[in-house]
Homo-oligomer: 407 residues x 3
């Protein structure tokens, strides 16, 4: 019976980890489809390599920063033999699950900086974000560090509620990306000196859609398995995720006028926004939360690209930064019992915690990319950018056979 | 222990829901690969938007029609606090699971009407099918409505057995599609006035195959999780699904002469046919059921397209309509104890129930699309069809970068 | 409680089976992306048809060879009613899980023989490998056959440890492929008479990457579910798989100089190597094991293609044959307690068992392909090879619409 329980918990969290791991393929294809062909290989290599660097940064440093546990002991100890480690290697699978969350941060940033960023400096940024910045705030919210949640409860009568990471993961990633995107500058030719905006068309809508589908599918693991315990598996979390996604699809479909990029990103906008409150809202609250997120994404994407002239290629700041922020606040609204929610949440705590997460992200994005820009440079040469990251960095194009002319 | 049990049930059904949700990406790519490039975006947007509309139609109306349960109560109530709702939000996750089945109906139809249907009228049809027609018959078979199963048992000594929906889902979808396809008429240029058939080649076999693979993978959730209870998880259902799929692959490979479209759809034909009887057949019965389905698909597809001149683009009436019908009947044959099945099934009940499902589908397909055709129109203008649904509806092509000539 | 336990075991192993089944889509797309466009359809049809033939060969013969159990009894008997069959059809789902392993063997070989092999002779080879050769060795290692493990324990003080098949599956597949690749000969034009090597570029890096991602995702089912019992679910296995994959990514990234093919195959190299010892190593041992595998793959691939002039198209002998061999041995090193492993393993037993598996594979590869070459021929005619397997075997190209010129 104990073995069944602890094995089932490992199974449950493992499936969550596999699903969120799969989401990284989704990040990759969303970027592949959105960038120009000459930068598709770069998108693919960047995502998988960032994932690898993230794993090491989080294994050796980040997880310890967030939860005070280190895996530098024998296999027997860390898989349940030593104090602080649960049976069946549960602590290890929990690490795997949370590591796939941490690695989402560089995957989010990747979409913003696409088509003109240098490769190796980004790996350094990844290591710093996943090893230090992300787990610092993660530990405060989820790891009982620095007395943050006790303080919030004292101040507002409730802790800061972020069930699956609208703020901890998405707002953090989106706001870190903002600094990177601004410091990098726009892709050459996108904004003309006379102020005109020259659209840069995506290369491949099917790949973009494939990426979105993979992300949507994996997201149910992201949210439901955040319970981290099979006895806590909740149909409410699943259906709230579903309805928020649907809200995002439909509002982006309407506001975005049938555009495939908006529809498929609208689904993601809804899912970003529902993470925080998916365990406490009513499905109707989730639907509204997602629908608003879809509108936020479409409007903010257009405003960022065309008015602010911030060249955030995949719109990751609107998608993860702003919809994440909205999600953190929405948990404080639709979590209320008066709105059919489960309660136990404070709107003031939600606003405070949400703004704090976004601020930390925004700040460290500028600091770390600012430092990298100064010391090693973060942008490809104009020639390399023109050639494309694929040929200039990876010495191969996405469709090499085609480079050889007709066979 | 109770928490482990109810959490495990939620986990089990959730995985089924995620797998069947993923199948919708499969529907999308099967269509993307089969249609011409100028209609790929439309396929993608149609599937995801239909899914969203289906979710709302089934959440607010359909599930109540089928099972008499409404989710218009507080989150605490519907996740287990109120009578009629199980712990851990199990009722919600069951809704999610069955909602992904319901949404398969418009996804099936989508493949038949591809390349020339208007967008918004299809959303209306989707809402009507998923909110009313589908759950009406679903409730009769699975929801103990209208005394249908009691009546069948009185008449035939056994209820109508459709474990995972060969009839309830697939035949329903395929026969609904038939009316739509006939009322729409063929794609321009496909059938010449002199009677000649001009083949319209698919655009992308790898995407077609990707769609088929995703569908096949998700199908194991479709079938096994139809037990809706982890204690009912059955290896027999899994292996019967496997062998029916394999039977469909091999017979379509042989009869279809190595053609990739037939092989990859043959797998689906076998899976459509095994849904009904997967819990009561022997794997050898499943193998034969699937092999016959593969032959049905290939032969009926060619006959429909070339002799009947019904332009069912993906062959969804042969695939879901006819193979589904065969599956409903096959459950009455290979479910017999004399054929190594588990018994408890009546061939007469199977034929009756199967024909009833197909008839309801066929009827309402003509009624609803007939009404839509009369009142709002269901077909693109000839110019829009020629331009392609992508540019005419969505204002973007599937490979926008390519439209700008060499970079 | 008993039903919960046996249902949960079925659920657990089923998810493993689904994940490894999905890996076959990964094998397909890895090959689609790596071969030239004119052989993409062939890759797709070959993988799915090989899978179907494998299912039948393993259902009727292979599983009986390995485990002495036959499914030729009534559905009631084989799903738990008869002696030797566990409740809930567990024996059937175990068959499904192990069948997806067996089918990996022809899927591995497929990548080596791509672009010039005949179709039907390969189906014969598949049936012989999956029905006889593979289960013969599988039965020795995993099925308590021929007293092999008792003998190993007598000789070396420990059985041959291959938890998830570095040797049983991967080395077997890779070494079987070696014979096929050598007997087939290189693709025309790849090696010039004057000794020059003419590179044959891959067609589609995104598809190659998609294949790799699907394989990586499924691999967590391959390894963790090898416990075949939810109470045995192990976070250690999961995290060791993760770190080996990451080691392979990073070493292939560095040694392979940013090349996307190397990076995405490097992940697989790490995963091949960790199968054997994933349940007994420390994650740091897994990281080193994977990193070494990444180097082995890159170096051996280049050496095979350019120095040995063995035209192993996807590099399956380096990837599965050599990295598998390394994995079998690595389990004997990093499994040691002195290296933070769980112990209970003998380096001598590992070397012996690993070499035995590779030898059996190498031998039967030459024997069976040698016989097929003599009796029916294994290679396409030069004209068919030039035309491409798609048009010559399947009578259709991968992008048929494009063959019709501009629309």
């Amino acid at each position: 019976m104990d073995a069944l329980k602890s094995g089932s918990d490992v199974f449950f969290v493992l499936i969550g980890a596999i699903l969120v791991f799969a989401m990284h393929a989704g990040f990759a294809f969303l970027e592949v489809g959105t960038v120009r062909k000459k930068n598709q290989v770069n998108a693919l290599v960047k995502i998988i390599t960032d994932f690898a660097v993230s794993t090491l940064a989080y294994f050796f440093i980040g997880y310890t920063v967030a939860y005070g546990v280190s895996f530098l002991g024998s296999a027997r100890d860390i898989s349940g033999g030593a104090e602080g480690f649960a049976a069946n290697g549960f602590t290890l699978v929990k690490f795997f699950f949370l590591m796939t969350f941490a690695a989402a941060v560089p995957a989010i940033i990747s979409g913003g900086i696409a088509e003109r960023a240098k490769f190796n400096p980004q790996l350094i940024a990844t290591a710093l974000f996943v090893g230090l910045v992300y787990p610092f705030f993660e530990g405060m919210v989820w790891g009982d560090r620095l007395g943050f949640q006790a303080g919030m409860t004292n101040l507002f009568g409730a802790p800061f509620h972020d069930f699956a990471g609208s703020i901890v993961v998405h707002a953090m990633g989106g706001w870190l990306a903002l600094g990177a995107v601004i410091l990098l500058g726009a892709r050459h030719g996108h904004y003309k000196p006379n102020g005109a905006v020259v659209g840069i068309p995506p290369s491949n809508i099917p790949f973009l859609a494939l990426g979105s589908w993979i992300l949507c599918i994996g997201w149910f693991g992201f949210n439901v398995m955040s319970a981290q315990d099979v006895a806590g598996a909740s149909g409410l979390v699943a259906v709230n995720s579903l309805l928020a996604m649907v809200g995002g699809i439909l509002s982006a479909f309407i506001v975005g006028r049938n555009d495939p990029g908006f529809v498929h990103n609208g689904a993601l906008a809804g899912l970003v926004a529902i993470c925080a409150g998916s365990d406490i809202m009513h499905p109707l609250g989730a639907l509204v939360t997602g629908a608003i997120a879809g509108v936020i994404f479409v409007k903010a994407y257009l405003y960022t690209q065309n008015k602010l002239k911030i060249d955030d290629v995949l719109g990751v700041w609107p998608l993860h930064g702003l919809c994440g922020l909205w999600g953190g606040i929405a948990a404080g609204i639709f979590g209320l019992e008066s709105l059919w929610g489960l309660g136990g949440v404070s709107i003031a705590a939600q606003v405070t915690g949400s703004l704090l997460g976004a601020t930390i992200g925004g700040l460290f994005g500028f600091i770390i990319y600012g430092g990298l820009k100064k010391w090693v440079g973060i942008r490809l040469s104009q020639e390399d950018e023109f050639t494309g990251a694929d040929l200039s960095i990876h010495k191969i194009s996405a469709y090499p056979e085609d480079d050889y002319g007709p066979r």
